[in-house]
């Protein structure tokens, strides 16, 4: 186990370096003068020069990288020259909203995927299985923003059940808060549910072929007991890894969903910064998201190894 962890940590270091380096270089190596871009079209030469020295853009690249990384490690991602707020402060303010969105979406997705996945695997090739597979295939082909538009049309315009956009803080009004999260979370959850259903189904079909399942059947255990206790548990490992891998996709998804539904989360923060050409915020959020993404994947890898001994002993399931 220790060897395994050490190997993973050794792998983490270059990836972290690459990811932070890349986030940093975004503002520096790409063509176009960052100061000019940020100052906007109506800037005077003086304001550009002031921005440039304020952001230390006149210093050599490696110096700036080390300076930026050193501060970033200590939790200082810079201060937005636009709003004069600290980037980390903005992130801290908005992160809970994104996390709530993703959490609700995951719960919704799993609530749909687990029963359907189990039922599909139990009668593989049956009517339910075919219908579920077809539906999953179709749902996976719908771009997120299209899902959002259709859901707004159905639930907010046609049925008038929930607000189309807007956000109510959890502490102000918990019920209204959940209502405002319903459509955005459903948008994210639909795709998740489709992916998880497919995954759980194929994994459980394989598990149900195992000898110990036949053994359990021979002992006369009830079907639900076999499905839930014997088959679901090993199959949920794969689901767990995919949950981790999905974080990146989810963050991308959150970006769109938060923009469409006007939820003030991290994704919205990034899009707003992009519209405002606020490079300091863009850089900070990109670095934060990328590092979080890498760390979550790292955590999932470790958790996976803890749960499934085959992994840490090197006999990966290829």
């Amino acid at each position: 186990m220790l060897t395994f962890v050490r190997g993973k940590v050794l792998h983490l270091v270059p990836v972290m370096f690459a990811v932070t380096c890349f986030s940093f270089l975004l503002t520096s190596l790409l063509p176009g003068d960052a100061a000019v871009v940020m100052a906007g079209p109506n800037a005077t030469a003086e304001s550009v020069a002031a921005l440039r020295s304020g952001l230390k853009l006149d210093q050599p690249l490696p110096v700036r990288y080390v300076d930026w990384l050193g501060k970033a490690v200590r939790g200082d991602l810079g201060t937005s020259p636009r709003s004069q707020t600290r980037v980390l402060e903005s992130i801290r303010e908005r992160l809970p909203i994104t996390l709530e969105l993703l959490l609700i979406a995951q719960v919704m997705g799993l609530l749909v995927a687990v029963p359907i996945g189990i039922a599909s695997a139990y009668r593989a090739g049956g009517i339910l299985d075919q219908a579920a597979s077809g539906a999953a295939f179709a749902v996976l082909a719908i771009p997120g923003f299209v899902v959002a538009i259709v859901l707004i049309y159905l639930f907010a315009v046609q049925m008038d059940l929930v607000p189309a956009t807007g956000y109510t803080p959890l502490l102000t009004n918990p019920l209204e808060n959940l209502r405002s999260f319903f459509l955005p979370a459903l948008t994210v959850a639909l795709g998740e549910a489709a992916a998880y259903t497919r995954l759980l189904r194929s994994d459980m079909i394989a598990t149900l072929q195992e000898d110990y399942i036949a053994m359990a059947r021979a002992k006369g255990l009830p079907t639900w007991h076999i499905l839930l206790r014997h088959a679901l548990k090993p199959s949920s490992f794969t689901l767990l890894t995919v949950l981790g891998i999905n974080i990146g996709r989810l963050l991308g998804g959150a970006l769109i969903v938060e923009t469409i539904f006007a939820l003030p989360g991290i994704g919205r923060l990034l899009v707003e910064a992009i519209y405002a050409r606020d490079l300091v915020v863009v850089q900070g959020v990109v670095a934060f998201v990328a590092v979080a993404f890498v760390l979550v994947n790292f955590g999932v890898d470790l958790l996976y190894a803890v749960l499934d001994p085959r992994i840490r002993h090197g006999r990966a399931l290829a």
Binding site: A141, P143, Y153
Partner: protein
């Protein structure tokens, strides 16, 4: 989420080559099924309309007619008009040009570079392979949509830049598919035979390996076209793809979003076209992959 934010997860498609002599069974196309050919027909139609858009004598896609906003279908406007009175059919046709150009060009870029890298890594092995694999892993470790947004903010929203960024992000996925297939192929007898006959490494890669990984790479490519089109659509939806008034499917969906309560079709028609196209691409890729995989199991 449903929305596949452009994250190019690899589904490695490993295919062994058809053994010499045992050729494909007759009518391989028959086994692809009706759904495959329906998908191909839809894709062909979209491509044809996109290519022929200038010659179709459609209404000017950017001509506004504020007296006919959100109009329903009529002989002048077969699919009605959008919120600014512009012809929907014409905008869809011109939008298809952007969606398809980005989808195909960026896929081609990722495919060529990724396949070359993956094939070389899988064949040469050793240190170069380590470097390629590590670099690709690091690239995949970056949230793709965030990267696309960030890069286009800094460089610009020109179509060639969008193609470049999305294509660049496709490289790791193709490299993985190509490498996985090459690893399997490099062990096979015909490669050994070629080497025994004194073929150069370059010749082996070009004439023995490459022809055998073309099928799985192209099949995977269809999926990537869909992902790339979604990526462009998403950018366009956020208003960060090619600048307006240029029509783009994602932008059309976004433009109709404020009028969902009065003219839902303005958003829903492009949304449907977009969905059908992505669905057709996914379906075609899925069916093709099954046939390609059957070929493997027959050996």
């Amino acid at each position: 989420m449903a929305a596949h934010s452009p994250d190019l997860t690899t589904e490695a498609i490993i295919v062994a080559p058809a053994a010499a002599g045992v050729d494909r069974p007759p009518r391989a196309w028959h086994r692809l099924g009706a759904s495959f050919w329906l998908s191909v027909a839809w894709l062909a139609l979209v491509t044809l309309v996109a290519v022929a858009a200038p010659a179709l004598h459609l209404a000017d896609p950017n001509l506004q007619d504020l007296t006919d906003r959100g109009g329903s279908a009529s002989p002048q406007h077969l699919l009605g008009t959008d919120g600014l009175g512009r012809d929907m059919l014409s905008r869809l046709a011109w939008g298809a040009r952007i969606s398809l150009t980005v989808g195909c060009a960026s896929t081609l870029l990722g495919m060529v570079v990724g396949t070359l890298l993956g094939m070389t890594a899988g064949y040469v092995r050793g240190r170069p392979e380590g470097v390629v694999v590590a670099t690709m892993d690091a690239l995949l470790a970056f949230p793709a949509l965030v990267l696309i947004l960030a890069v286009t903010t800094f460089i610009g929203h020109d179509i060639s830049i969008i193609v470049g960024v999305i294509g660049f992000l496709g490289i790791p996925a193709f490299a993985r598919v190509a490498r996985a297939n090459t690893l399997a192929l490099a062990q096979r007898e015909f490669v050994l035979a070629a080497r025994a006959m004194g073929a150069s490494e370059l010749r082996i890669i070009g004439l023995e390996i490459l022809p055998n990984i073309v099928a799985p790479v192209l099949t995977f490519g269809l999926l990537v076209v869909a992902v790339a089109m979604i990526a462009e659509g998403t950018l366009a939806f956020l208003g960060l793809s090619v600048p307006p008034p240029a029509a783009s499917w994602g932008a059309m969906v976004a433009e109709g979003r404020g009028d969902l309560d009065i003219w839902p079709q303005v958003s829903l028609i492009p949304a449907t076209v977009f969905f059908l196209t992505i669905f057709a691409l996914n379906l075609a890729a899925d069916r093709l992959r099954r046939v390609v995989e059957v070929r493997e199991s027959r050996i």
